[in-house]
Symmetry: C2
Subunit: 356 residues, 2 copies
DNA sequence: CTGAAAGCGCTTACAG
DNA sequence: CTGAAAGCGCTTACAG
C-alpha cells in the first residue's frame, strides 16, 4: 500500500532531479517483464499470460503507477476523449446541460474533458478554449456556447466531428442538436393569446447576446401578431435594469396586460420588479418565461416552457458516437427538439383595468 | 484563410493514410525554417528574429496549425493545466462553484480541465476520474466532491498539490478550503430559537451521503439543545420521500413548530409537501434551508444561509497558485469560510395551536 | 505469449 | 539568432 517505495531511495517527494514520475519502465523492472508487456496489460489486451498480468498489476499497484495519458495518446495517435466547450454555467440551463452531457457521455463510454469560457468582448477567450481543446487533440468536440462562431469552428470541422449543442447552426458544415426555440416561442405566445390578452410587452434579447432567446422573442412577436394581438417589443440590456423596468412601467400604466420574457431568469426579474411596484400577478398583469429548469419554479407558479435538456444531451452524445465511428464528412444533421408548455399561476385573463 | 492548403495534394480530409494532423515539421517546411525555430516562436520565446517569427506565424495561420499539447507537455514534462474533479453539477451550489472556479482560474491565468463524476455505489467512477486526471499529468488537482476519499487522494498528494474545495478534510496531508458549516448550522439554529420555537424537527443527512450537510444537521441539533429546545431528528433518505414526509407529518400533528433542512433543495421539498397538506408557512410551521444560491429564493422568501461560493473559488485558486509556485509538502492549510444568514418569510413565531 | 526497436510531435540543452 | 540531435513515456508492427 505504500506509495513511497521509491526505488531510487532518495526519500519522499523532495528529490529535486528525480521527479516523482513513475514510468512504465519502473513497473516493468519491478515486475520483471518488458515495457511492452506492461503496456499490453495496462491496455487490457488479450495476448498476455495470466501470470504476467498478475505481476504487472501487483507492481503497478504497489508503486502507485498511473499510465501517462499524454504519452499514450501521442503514441497511439488518437484520443478517445471528446472536448466540451461550455458557456458560463451560471445560467442554470447550461448547468443542467453540462451535467446531463457528462452523464450521457459516461453511459456511452466516452470521456469528456470540458472547458468553460466566460463571455468577453471579442470572443477571444472562447477561441482560446477552442484552440486549447484542439491542441489536446480531442477526438471530437461538442460546442455548447454561442460565443464561438461557425467561422471559427470551420477550420477544424474537417479534422474531427464537431457538434453544436443547444443552439442551431447557421452553417451547413456543422452538426447541430438544438432546442426547438420556434416551438417554444409559438407555444408560449398562443398560451397568452388564448388567455385573452390583446396588448402584450415582449422583452427581446439581441441576436448577438443570445441567439436562442432572440428566436424565442421573434417567434412570440410573429405568433402574437398573427393572432391580431398588439405587441410592444422591449429590448433587453438597454437601460440599467435591462429593459425590465420599461416592461414593468408599461404594465403599471395599464398599456399591456401581459409581459413575455425570453427566459425564466428574466421572468424572475420582472416578478421582483412587479412585486416592488405593488402590481399583482396575474391579477393586474400576466408574465411568462422560458426554460423550465429552475428549482422551485413550481412553488413560484411560473408559467414557462420546459426545454428538453436531458433529451438534448442524450441525442448529442449519440450523434457524436455515430460520427466517431463513421467517416468524417458524413451527412450533416440538424435536429431540433421540442419541449413542453408548463402552465403556471403567473398567467390569467387580462385585468379589467386595462385601458389607460 | 483556406484550411485546405493540403501540401500533399490528396484533397480534403478524405485521405485515409495521411491524417489531417499537421505537425511542426509541416509549418517549418512551409516557413523555410527549422522545427526548433517554429517551436521557439510558438512558445513565445525571445531569442527569435522578427523575420522568423513573422514567417512562422504566417505559415501556421495559413495551414491552420494548432500545436499538439500532448506532445508539448510530454516533451517539456509538465502541465500548466490543473485538474478539477467535480461532483454532479445538478446541485446548484456545485454548478455555481464550478463557474466561479473557472472564472477565478482564468483570472489567475491557470487552465482548468474538469471531469464530472456522478455518484455511484462504491465511488468507482470517482476514482476513475481521479486516475484519468492524474494520467493527464495535471499540475495540480482541485477536488470538489466528497465521493473521493482522503485515502484515495493520498497516494498522489506527494506528487502534485491537491486541494479539497467545499468540504473539510479529515486528513492532515491534504489542503482544504471549505465552507464554515458549523457557523451555518449554528446561525440558522439560533435564528429559529430566537423566533421562539421550542419543538423543532431537523432533517438530517447521513455522514456518508453528504458530509457538509451532516455537519450542518449535527450543529443545528447541538445548538438547539444548548438553548433548551426539544429536537426531533428525521433521517433523510429513509422513506420514499426521503424523510420529508415524516417531518411534515410531525408538523401537521403539531408536534413541532419548525422544520430545519440541511439544504434549500430539501427545503423546497418540504414546502411543496406542506402546501399539498394545506399547512401554512410560517403561520403553522416555520421552515429553514441552507445554501442560498437558488434563483428566485428571494421571491419565495426562503429563510436560508448563503454560503460564500465566490470567495471559496477565489481562495482555492489562490492557494493552488501558491502551491504551484512553492515546493511540494509545504504547510497544509485548512481554511473555513463563513457565510451569512438570509432571513426570509418562512420563519415566524411558533403557532398557537402547537400543542397536540 | 514476449521483446527489441522505431516512432508519435514536441522541447531543450548543445554547438554553431 | 538558428539547427541537429537526444529524449519525454508510451504503442505497435515485427520477429521470435
Amino acid at each position: 500500500m505504500s506509495v513511497e517505495d521509491d526505488p531510487a531511495g532518495d526519500g519522499d517527494a523532495a528529490a529535486p532531479d528525480a521527479p516523482s514520475s513513475l514510468t512504465m519502465e519502473d513497473v516493468a523492472a519491478a515486475a520483471g517483464v518488458s515495457r511492452t508487456s506492461v503496456s499490453r496489460v495496462m491496455l487490457g489486451q488479450k495476448k498476455v499470460s495470466e501470470d504476467t498480468r498478475r505481476r504487472v498489476f501487483a507492481a503497478a499497484d504497489r508503486l502507485g503507477y498511473v499510465p501517462n495519458v499524454l504519452a499514450s495518446e501521442l503514441a497511439s495517435r488518437g484520443t478517445s476523449t471528446i472536448g466540451l466547450l461550455l458557456r458560463d454555467a451560471a445560467n442554470p440551463a447550461y448547468g443542467l446541460l453540462f451535467t446531463q452531457l457528462q452523464e450521457a457521455a459516461h453511459a456511452a463510454d466516452l470521456t469528456l474533458v470540458s472547458m468553460t469560457v466566460t463571455a468577453d468582448n471579442r470572443g477571444q477567450r472562447q477561441v482560446a478554449g477552442l484552440h486549447r481543446l484542439m491542441g489536446m487533440r480531442v477526438g471530437g468536440l461538442i460546442v455548447a456556447t454561442g460565443g464561438v462562431t461557425s467561422e471559427q469552428l470551420e477550420p477544424f470541422c474537417s479534422r474531427i466531428p464537431i457538434i453544436r449543442a443547444g443552439r442551431p447552426e447557421t452553417t451547413e458544415h456543422i452538426h447541430a442538436v438544438s432546442y426547438d426555440e420556434v416551438h417554444a416561442g409559438r407555444t408560449l405566445a398562443e398560451h397568452v393569446a388564448d388567455a385573452g390578452h390583446r396588448d402584450v410587452a415582449i422583452v427581446v434579447t439581441a441576436e448577438g447576446d443570445s441567439y436562442p432567446e432572440f428566436v424565442r422573442g421573434t417567434t412570440m412577436a410573429a405568433t402574437l401578431a398573427g393572432r391580431g394581438v398588439r405587441i410592444i417589443p422591449v429590448p433587453v440590456g438597454a437601460g440599467p435594469r435591462g429593459g425590465v423596468d420599461e416592461a414593468v412601467a408599461l404594465a403599471t400604466e395599464g398599456r399591456v396586460s401581459a409581459i413575455m420574457c425570453p427566459s425564466d431568469l428574466r421572468q424572475l426579474e420582472v416578478l421582483r420588479s412587479l412585486a416592488a411596484a405593488g402590481v399583482s400577478v396575474p391579477g393586474d398583469v400576466s408574465v411568462t418565461g422560458c426554460d423550465g429548469v429552475l428549482h422551485g419554479a413550481d412553488l413560484l407558479g411560473l408559467t414557462t416552457y420546459r426545454i428538453p435538456v436531458e433529451q438534448l444531451a442524450v441525442r448529442t452524445v449519440a450523434r457524436m458516437a455515430e460520427l466517431l465511428a463513421a467517416r468524417p464528412g458524413a451527412g450533416v444533421v440538424a435536429e431540433r427538439l421540442p419541449g413542453v408548455l408548463v402552465p403556471g399561476r403567473t398567467v390569467g385573463p387580462p385585468s379589467s383595468r386595462k385601458e389607460p
